[in-house]
Symmetry: C2
Subunit: 230 residues, 2 copies
């Protein structure tokens, strides 16, 4: 998620506890507020305001902005400021294009038994959330499911790309989260995909996932429908 390593090895070889830089902490804080919906898409982030609120220098806020901008969570308008990114219809399709490419590829490659177990665990997590009627938990479980699929590829780069894409989607999911059945509706799909994966039928699992993503995109596009494109 963060661009720099959490644990650093000093020259002497000792492992040092990672104490995130102030800029990274600011970025994390903003990331949190973005995920929580405290900062809505399109909202403006004034440097001086945030600097005061968080008790840091304006320059440090600036560095945090650079990090968030590289993650597309925020958009820089030169000389105008940074704004919380707002995804339009085109962006939704784009994000799903990325997800299709990454997730399907990872699923086709299969994974170790532990990797598969992680996918299964995410499925069960989703079921429990559904039983408890906890939509938010269902949402995170769903993200765990897809994260576990990508993790099968064992690729750090794919993992970070996936994490960023999911963070982007979380940006406007507040709207969709209201739909009570939004996540539960996908539970059978997750189950089917997981079963195919466990049975070693990778191609079938990949096809199921692909169809799953297509439907998910359509649904999200419907829910969205009206918001601004840029």
């Amino acid at each position: 998620m963060a661009s720099t390593d959490p644990a650093v090895r000093t020259a002497a070889g000792r492992l040092r506890v990672a104490v995130p830089s102030v800029a990274e902490r600011v970025a994390s804080e903003l990331r949190l507020q973005l995920a929580e919906g405290a900062l809505l898409p399109g909202a403006r982030l004034t440097e001086s305001t945030i600097a005061e609120d968080l008790g840091v220098s304006r320059n440090t806020v600036r560095e945090a902005f650079a990090e968030l901008a590289s993650e597309r969570l925020v958009v820089r308008h030169p000389n105008r400021g940074v704004f919380v990114a707002s995804l339009g219809a085109g962006d939704i399709h784009d994000v799903y294009t990325v997800r299709r490419a990454i997730e399907v590829s990872a699923l086709r490659g299969g994974g170790s038994p532990e990797d598969v177990a992680a996918v299964r665990a995410a499925v069960e997590e989703g079921k429990r959330a559904a039983v408890a009627g906890d939509d938010e938990a269902g949402g995170t479980a769903n993200q765990h499911f897809h994260g576990a699929i990508v993790a099968m590829a064992g690729s750090p780069r794919l993992n970070t790309i996936m994490a960023q894409v999911l963070a982007e989607m979380r940006l406007f999911f507040h709207k969709a989260t209201a739909d009570a059945y939004f996540y539960q509706h996908y539970l059978p799909d997750n189950e089917a995909i997981c079963e195919a994966l466990e049975a070693g039928e990778l191609d079938r699992a990949a096809d199921l996932l692909s169809a799953y993503l297509d439907r998910s995109e359509d649904k999200l596009a419907d829910v969205h429908g009206e918001s601004g494109t840029e």
Copy 2:
């Protein structure tokens, strides 16, 4: 490639000529030096030195570093400085995992006749370079080829991801570029893939590309072989 848009629309609706910020210009300059091999992997980039050399503030250099770090062209070691990224064996495999996911997916999706024509153009560009014996031109033609494949997906995000990955690879390609036949060797593959694509046999084209990438990775791993892993 750059994180901010090149052309910005002012509130009044007028189109403003994109004058890249100083930080972006510094980042571009460093990117250029990295691509040219003026800065070798592992080399240290001292803030004050670069600030003086380019006649900008240390703070601005810092912002440029943040951008390059987000592109993985440079690695930040907290309190130690930033270093030109050096790819180890694991990184090579990882980069190719990303490429397989993205390129194969884009190829499977097919594209418009114009998209296919762009792929064909890149193939011919590579042939001309081979005839002329220009290895460097052959290398860029090869990158155009793969870039055109990804462009078929019509996804801005996939395009930037691909661009970053290619930039990463260029980082240590200086070593491999020495091999005269390195790129030419792949020309038949490019031709075959392009023909399958033009024939509308997307699955076959995708399989060819996948095999191509596997072989390319093996070859690159061999050439590499000895360099540091971190």
